[in-house]
Each structure stands twice: as structure tokens, then as C-alpha cells.
Symmetry: C2
Subunit: 235 residues, 2 copies
Amino acid sequence: MTKCGDNKLDEKAVFFDIDDTLLDTSSFAETARRAAIEMMVENGLPLEKDEAYDLLKEIIEQKGSNYDKHFNVLTKTVLGEEDPFLIALGMTTYHNVKFALLRPFPRTTQTLLYLKTKGYKLGAISNGITIKQWEKLIRLNIHGFFDEVITSEEVGFKKPNRHIFEEALSKMNCKAEKSIMVGNKLDVDIIGAANAGMKTVLVNSNIDLESEERIIEENIDLKVLNNISELNTIL
Amino acid sequence: MTKCGDNKLDEKAVFFDIDDTLLDTSSFAETARRAAIEMMVENGLPLEKDEAYDLLKEIIEQKGSNYDKHFNVLTKTVLGEEDPFLIALGMTTYHNVKFALLRPFPRTTQTLLYLKTKGYKLGAISNGITIKQWEKLIRLNIHGFFDEVITSEEVGFKKPNRHIFEEALSKMNCKAEKSIMVGNKLDVDIIGAANAGMKTVLVNSNIDLESEERIIEENIDLKVLNNISELNTIL
């Protein structure tokens, strides 16, 4: 695997956030959760569908999206004890729908290919569970584009902590000033990367007035694009 | 849910083991593991395929088949540290192939339906993880046939321990002498159920001379069938 700077000092890198930057995680997760809830209610969970969905969302907020027992907590909350049948039904439905819907954003592969042909090394920096993030890249068949995948689980620091960005730069043997971070969350992806000295690109997101003032005040090197397929207009 | 004995004292029940009795777990698991190993070796696991497969089998024997980090141990053993990409690749391939191959044995649905029309209550008794066992029944779409699913995880005792059979009988409110246990393992399914006073049926298995002597000595009420589709010849 060629690392930035191994031979050429002018090598450059683009780092991507994964969820909601490369793929529409929030959207398929919502659809999959709604399908799971519908199935659970139709098979005996004694709540209205909207009520059950709202409760699930609350549980996900409390426990975090990487927690893997949301449906256990849901049945325990509603029924007083876990219901293995309903949990299994919810999980199976969630996974079936999720894998059916798992797609990269339009023109993602072409964009990654374009960046490779332009000589960029590519990395992914994600607040997530290492194996789960690899699983998404593998299922999307875009894992081959990435020289390194860096996760908060592995590094021990979450974005926006600058240590995760510095660890990513170090693993790729790249200089911050020759590197670009692309992500959909201003607070998480952009501020952290900027603190580590990287250039930044915000995608799939809007900037409000308050954020705009902050960007100017903190002198953050930021470009805003609709989505990653527009990267070819600036790189 | 009607339980045996709730109203009629002459109600009768058939209990099934799940893995290798209702579905061909061992066969699809082997195919899925071989596919996973092939993918891992082709993507950089530095072993011959057969060598890697044998090592995986050893790890599964050591850790048990319900352990969920076999591929983690495999990469750590071979490489000195876990490789999240190879682990995710192995797991993804294993699950894709497993779900593609997951089928009940021929005429399973018809057999369960036949028993229902004959007035039998149906239960499942499995040494396994409750949610994983429900997941198999749900994916096979045969979960609706079962009045109760009893697992060792839930009860705290594994087959052949008689407590798991007694707990199953109690949950279904059934008498042992009116109940039949169907399974593929003599030592696990048959001996345990017989000790709890149930009639037994062995399927998908052969009986050697030594076992035959034991059955006669211990006076076990056993019928041997090729597979569960033959249950209509005796029930």
C-alpha cells in the first residue's frame, strides 16, 4: 500500500467521514427501523406504531446508535421483560431492510475513482465500531479505494477530538496542510479537522448564520458542497 | 395461545430440536465458513485455504459455535493482531452465504402443518442463544407453528440435562408421557428427554451397535426415522 510521502513529498490525501457522507445511513436506518417497528407491532407489541417508533428513537438517543440491544430495551420497557421472539423479529426485519437499501450516494464510486486518478490517497475517519464500518465499505464494494480506515473505537478518541485526525494523518504518513477532510457534520468533522490543520469540505448539510460566523471567526478553511460528487469542481 | 391441558386433558405435544433437525445448520455453516475463508485468503490472510479453514474449525471447537468472534481470533492467531478489514470481510461473506442457504429440511412446513391438524401442540427445545434461535425460525417463516421456544440460555440448563425438558413441559403445561421429543442427537436430545419421561424420535442420524445396546438397557422409548417428514408414519 503506497502511503503519502513514502516517496513523493507532494502527495496529497482526502479523508472521508462514512455515515451520511459516503452513504445515506440516516435515511436507510429510519426506513429499516420503521419496518422493524411495524413488524413488531403487527406481531404483538402492544403499542401504536408511531408510539413504538418514538419510544425506539428515545432509546437510541439514550443508548447511542452503536448500542446493539435497542430492541431488547424496547420490549423490556413495554412488556416488563424482554421478548426474544419480538426482538429477533425486529432485528431480522431491520437487517433485511438495511441491507436491501444500503447504497452509496449517487456517483460515489466515480468520485472516489476521480480522486484516485488525480493522485489523491484516500482515507476514512469515522466515529464508529471498526468492524461495522468496514462491513459497510465492503457491502458497498468501495473498500478497495481506501488506503486506511480510522475509527474512534480503534484510536480511543472521537471526532471532533484532534487526536483522531492526527492519528489518521500519521497512519497515512501525510501532512495536515496537504490533506482534506470531507464530512457532513460541522461540529464533528469540520471543526476537528480544522483544529488539526486540515482543509475541510462540508457536504449534505446546510450552514446557519451562527455557524457561518463561527467559521469566519475561527478562520476555518472550509468549502461547502451539496454532495461528494461535486468534489471534482474543487479538486 | 392454547396450552396443553388448559382445557383438554388429552392434549399432546411434539417438541423439536432446531439445528440439524428442522434445518441443515451444519451443512450451510460449513459452506458459509469455506466461502468466508476463501474471501479472507484471497484478500490477504497469509495462509493456504485448507490450512485457514482447519484453523478456523479448531477455533470454533475451542470457543464453541455460539461464540461470535471466531474471525477475530483467526486473524489475531495468524497476524499477531486483529485485522478489522479481514474480520468484516469474513463475517459479511459468512452471513451472506448463510442467509442465502438457510432453508428448512424438505417437507418441514408440511410436517409441522400435519402435526397441527392432528391436534399436537408444538414446541422447540434448543441448546442455543434465544434470539439467534428465534431468528432462524423467523427467517424460515416457521415460527408461527411453535407454541413455545425453550433455549438453554433462557433456562440455564443445556440438553441433555432433564431440567430443560421439564421446564419446556411446564411452560406448555403438558405431561411428559403425552409428549414426544424429536432430535438428531442421541446423547443430547434423546437421552435427556427420555430421562424426563418423554417419548423420543431420532432423525437425521444413525445408531451404532453400542448406542443400540444402551437404548435397550436403559429401556428408552425411541423411534428412529430418516427425517421429520416421516413423522406422519408414526403420529
